[in-house]
Symmetry: C2
């Protein structure tokens, strides 16, 4: 930051909730607002939710003596595809009706502040680079392990956007050509195997093939209730089928990470998202398989670690986008 | 270049030949020297071959009125692994006895010029970015299709080195986990399928499985004489087995390129190396499969094209490394 008295706002625009943070130049949170996105009530409603959320954290700042002139900008992390330069959200799967929305100019009109847009997974990677698990590292890759698999890549301390803001679609690397069908319609994507969706599908197909498992008991035979978390819990309790799924998931992730390491040679690979709650049960075999499948010279010094920033990651990264675009970090 | 009167030298250090070029700031070649690497005669011999080759092009320059003061530096493109910052070649498969050779300081001592070291595939990518098939493009990927598959990646006009100079090992992306064994010892690497070695192995295994092919005739039943070039020639003549191999090779390359496009979102993908002599027979299906396997938003505007600079690519890229490190391009 230029001055100790400068502040910024970060907004994480999710399909369910909007999280806004008012932070100082070191990432210290001085105000937070969480509210429903109300995506089903339409675009205008969600826009006013964003504006009100930002105004709320600004008011929280004012009550602590932070004047409006010390607010240097607002960063918004959003699902994509989007255009970070033009500030347009082309389309957002979880926000019905959002087609080519010029979010930056719409928010600038109302908030009278500089607005910056970033892809949500890129923002998460930037946050972890700035003050998280990849602090002081030049090159890192972040994988978000959720319903799907997203990603963010930092190279030389900069977010990799690529030519048309579509870079870091890590979930759609093909690790097994001709393999399982992915949500994107192709076959063999990493996401088809190692996302929560992939884990659940692979588990279900083993159960349907007649394998015995503690999971049946845990969901009282309602197989549709099986979650990724339950699989990890059953594995911890010694369930063989679940242990096999956990081991295979780590292998698929290890293969994907190995390819990323061979291509990008990052110093740190950060895993985030619900599945990382499994801790060592996930990380130990992932590290083993990444080491097995990557080139030794590339993987030797790589750290594969959990994300550090928790629930605030998205909004912190959105705020960091302001600092980045202004050249302050 | 800072001044129109500035010149640079680029050296392509290969296992068989050393190519040196004296060029001006626009890449115009004013002197060239090619000589044997004499790798089998040891490191000292090869070092003196490099020094003599550089001195020869400098003399060619002098005879054209280019003074020694206008020579701004020498770039060397070398196989790796190497350390571009420290100027050390750790190891070079084709240069026996080269272990942790401090090439930059050794050459600087003898040539009294600034010396810069770059990985050979990175140098090729830089050359194509500078004055070749990727001119005026910010982001590109180059694949070298030879005995193995190498790569170079340009992001934001800069060579991607990664944390420890091992980035762009594109040939070792895993495209089919558990698949064919690669030269690196792992299974399922792109190189195992789509390098010249991979093409020949896949062809041989189909022939051994009893498939009929024109190739038998072309090599007078000496199957060990089958080359990648012959496979493409037989495919052009309508040989079904060869056509199948050509189509499959394009599919494997398309899958690898799709993953690269999803991860990096480049504007241009450049293919270089012997196999590209096949022209449309290679490029048409490669483009088709890359489009099939990549995300539409990422691949839509990507051009997949042959390299442009031919035999001089390596030395031109080595020279461009000097310009790059000095911040002139």
């Amino acid at each position: 930051m230029k001055f100790a008295s400068d502040y910024i706002v970060g907004v994480d625009l999710g399909g369910t909730n909007i999280v806004s943070l008012l932070i100082n130049g070191e990432g210290k949170v001085v105000g937070k607002d969480t509210r429903a996105t109300l995506a089903q009530e339409g675009k205008e409603k969600t826009l006013s939710q964003i504006v009100n959320s930002v105004r709320t954290v600004l008011e929280k700042g004012q009550s602590q003596g932070i004047s409006s002139t010390s607010i240097k900008g607002v960063g918004v992390g959003s699902p994509g595809p989007l255009d970070t330069k033009k500030g347009i959200i082309h389309f957002a799967p979880n926000l019905p009706g959002w087609n080519n929305v010029p979010l930056v100019s719409l928010l600038a009109d109302q908030l009278k502040l500089p607005i910056f847009l970033e892809n949500d997974a890129n923002a998460a990677a930037l946050a972890e680079w700035w003050i998280g698990a990849g602090k002081k590292v030049d090159n890192l890759v972040l994988l978000t392990l959720g319903t799907g698999i997203g990603g963010g890549i930092i190279i030389g301390g900069e977010v990799l956007h690529g030519a048309w803001d579509t870079a870091a679609e890590i979930g759609h690397m093909i690790i097994h050509e001709g393999g399982l069908v992915c949500g994107c319609g192709k076959r063999g994507c990493l996401e088809a195997y190692a996302s929560a969706t992939g884990v659940i599908k692979r588990t279900a197909s083993l159960i349907k093939a007649g394998r015995k498992t503690l999971l049946r008991e845990l969901v009282h035979d309602h197989l549709e209730d099986i979650t990724c978390e339950l699989v990890y819990r059953a594995a911890e309790r010694g369930d063989e089928l679940s242990q096999r799924i956990v081991e295979e998931t780590a292998r698929y992730l290890g293969i994907g990470i190995a390819s990323l390491v061979n291509i990008l040679n990052p110093e740190v690979v950060i895993l985030s998202g619900g599945m990382t709650a499994a801790g060592d049960l996930l990380f130990k075999p992932v590290r083993k398989y990444a080491r097995k499948y990557a080139l030794e010279a590339a993987i030797r010094g790589v750290r594969i670690v959990p994300a550090k920033l928790g629930d605030n990651t998205g909004a912190l990264g959105a705020a960091a986008t302001v600092l980045k675009r202004k050249g302050w970090i």
